[in-house]
């Protein structure tokens, strides 16, 4: 078990370093640097050189990379050229929107997919199976930002039930903030739940044909007990795998949905940073997002061993 953990942690470290080299390398070849972005086109070469020296931008690329890497690990991500505040603080502030948004989306996606997929698998070829298959095909095909627009059109503007955009912050308690996040989270969740429904159905159907489920039925377990007590827990590994793989899409989706609902999250920050050519913010936001993806995948990998005792023994 410890060896497995150590191997996974080493893999995580290598991937993290590779991503950091990739992100740093890409931002390195972008024309201009934070100093020229701050001073604009009218700056004299002397002023520019002075600011570069002050910001440490005159050092060789390797040194600047190592400094940035050290900053990433210690939380010192530099100062935004647009907002003039530490990037770390800016990201933390925006994470307070993006993390609950994606967390709520995952909860909604699992909340839709698990019952739908399991019900469909309980009687393959039945009505519920047909509905689930249709939902899965349609849900995968629709872009989340379009679902967002439709929800604004119907639920927010048409019925007036929930806000069409903006975020009141967490200062007034979780109620108003969650109301503002509900529609964007639903827009993010629907395509994810479609993928998960498909995987859940397929996985449960496969497990239902296994000998141990048949044995449980022969010993007198009801269909629903055989399904929920025996089949579903054993069918969860592929569902969790898919949930881990989907995190990359969820983050990409968050950038879009935050823009549809004008939520001040990380995705909107990255998009605005591009418009303002705030390279320090782009570099760090991308790195934080990528780190979240690999951390989640590491977590998923470790979760397997909790969910499936066979893997625990093998590890």
């Amino acid at each position: 078990m410890l060896r497995h953990l150590a191997r996974r942690a080493a893999g995580f470290a290598v991937t993290f370093l590779l991503i950091s080299v990739l992100v740093f390398g890409m931002m390195e070849i972008v024309p201009g640097d934070p100093a020229s972005a701050m001073l604009g086109t009218s700056a004299t070469p002397e002023t520019l050189a002075a600011l570069r020296a002050q910001m440490g931008l005159d050092a060789p690329a390797v040194i600047r990379y190592l400094r940035w890497l050290g900053g990433l690990l210690s939380g010192d991500l530099g100062v935004s050229t647009t907002y003039g505040v530490p990037v770390g603080a800016l990201i933390l502030e925006r994470l307070a929107v993006t993390l609950p948004l994606t967390g709520l989306a995952v909860l909604l996606a699992v909340g839709i997919a698990l019952p739908l997929g399991v019900t469909a698998a309980s009687r393959p070829g039945g009505v519920a199976d047909g509905v689930a298959t249709l939902y899965a095909q349609a849900g995968i095909a629709v872009p989340n930002f379009w679902i967002g627009l439709l929800l604004i059109m119907t639920v927010a503007l048409g019925l007036g039930w929930l806000p069409a955009g903006g975020f009141p912050g967490w200062g007034d308690g979780p109620g108003p903030a969650l109301r503002a996040l509900l529609l964007p989270a639903l827009a993010l969740a629907i395509p994810q739940s479609a993928v998960l429904t498909r995987v859940t159905r397929a996985s449960v159907v496969e497990v239902m044909n296994e000998d141990f489920v048949r044995t449980a039925r022969a010993k007198g377990a009801s269909v629903s007990r055989a399904l929920w007590r025996h089949a579903v827990p054993n069918a969860l590994v592929p569902v969790i795998t898919m949930l881990g793989l989907q995190i990359s899409f969820l983050i990409g989706g968050a950038v879009l949905v935050e823009n549809v609902f004008t939520l001040p999250g990380m995705g909107r920050l990255a998009w605005q940073a591009l418009a303002q050519r705030d390279l320090i913010v782009i570099q760090n936001v991308v790195m934080v997002f990528a780190t979240v993806v690999i951390v989640v995948n590491l977590g998923v990998d470790l979760l397997y061993t909790v969910v499936d005792p066979r893997l625990r023994r093998r590890a």
Binding site: L18, V142, P143, L149, V255, N259, V260, W271, V293
Partner: protein, 282 residues
């Protein structure tokens, strides 16, 4: 050999229906995209301010946008733009990913490095890559193609590697080795032809994904610049007129959904036909 295998006649199955519906929708998409090169009801870039925000059938088949441009013509040309970027991106991902995948399967030493690089590339969603590339190249087709294509490299590499490893374990590969064939020749003559079906299925599925992603990039202004119509930008522009002209948001969204649905169904149908495990199971 193939002609000697007798297959029992069988009825029309769900897999066949999936393949048929997928093929029809995809043919429609490609047909409309190609038709837009020679004919559209109106010039998609022609603005007629006096006829702005007209509903479907009031002005043209699907109405007009906030600048009086014909929505149907924009959708048709948008199909071509979307497909072009999707094909280029998937081509990039498929070629590089397949090369990496077969190389990893053939050489275990290369395998560990490749998988780590794949993990790193897969951790960068295309929209984030596009934001970085946008800073470098500015918005446009190259940004969209590279951002989507690079994300697909690990997808193709993983699929190809897994499939190729199974082929490398077969006895006829050992026979080919004993006959003196080298790694490259075995890969070209035996491995690639045997995994081509799985790569084709993956190309179809990834085309659907690329169309969705391209729409997202265009929505953010990171795709083809105006005046070239794109489905994503049409949706972005519709946001201001959601109550006044809902058709502006409905038509491009439905077009994206139909295109993606068609390609996904085609991919599923092809997988049922080309994947040997699924073929045997059915």
């Amino acid at each position: 050999m193939r002609a000697l295998v007798l297959r029992p006649r069988r009825g029309f199955r769900l897999d066949d229906a999936t393949l048929l519906v997928g093929a029809v929708l995809t043919a429609l998409l490609v047909g409309v995209a190609l038709l837009s090169l020679v004919w559209t009801p109106e010039d998609p870039a022609r603005m007629r301010i006096l006829q702005k925000l007209r509903g479907p059938l009031v002005s043209g088949l699907l109405g007009t946008d906030h600048l009086g441009r014909d929505l149907a013509s924009m959708l048709m040309r948008g199909a071509f733009n979307s497909l072009t970027i999707a094909f280029a991106a998937v081509g990039l991902g498929a070629v590089l990913g397949t090369l990496a995948g077969v190389a990893a399967a053939a050489g275990p030493r290369f395998d560990a490095v490749l998988m780590r690089v794949c993990d790193a590339l897969f951790a960068l969603p295309p929209i984030l890559s596009a934001i970085m590339l946008g800073a470098l190249l500015g918005p446009g087709a190259p940004t969209a193609i590279i951002a989507i294509g690079v994300f697909m490299i690990p997808v193709f590499a993983r699929v190809t590697r897994g499939a190729a490893m199974q082929i490398w374990a077969r006895e006829y590969i050992m026979a080919a080795r004993m006959a003196g064939k080298g790694t490259v020749r075995i890969t070209l003559e035996h491995v690639l032809p045997n995994i081509a079906g799985q790569i084709i299925v993956q190309v179809t599925i990834q085309l659907a994904m690329a169309i969705l992603t391209e729409a997202g990039l265009s929505f953010l202004g990171l795709g083809l610049p105006p005046p070239a119509p794109t489905w994503g930008r049409m949706l972005a522009e519709s946001q201001t007129y959601l109550t006044q002209a809902p058709h502006l948001a409905l038509a491009p969204g439905l077009a994206i959904a139909a295109a993606v649905l068609g390609l996904n169904l085609l991919g599923d149908g092809l997988a049922a036909r080309l994947d040997p495990r699924r073929r045997q199971a059915s």
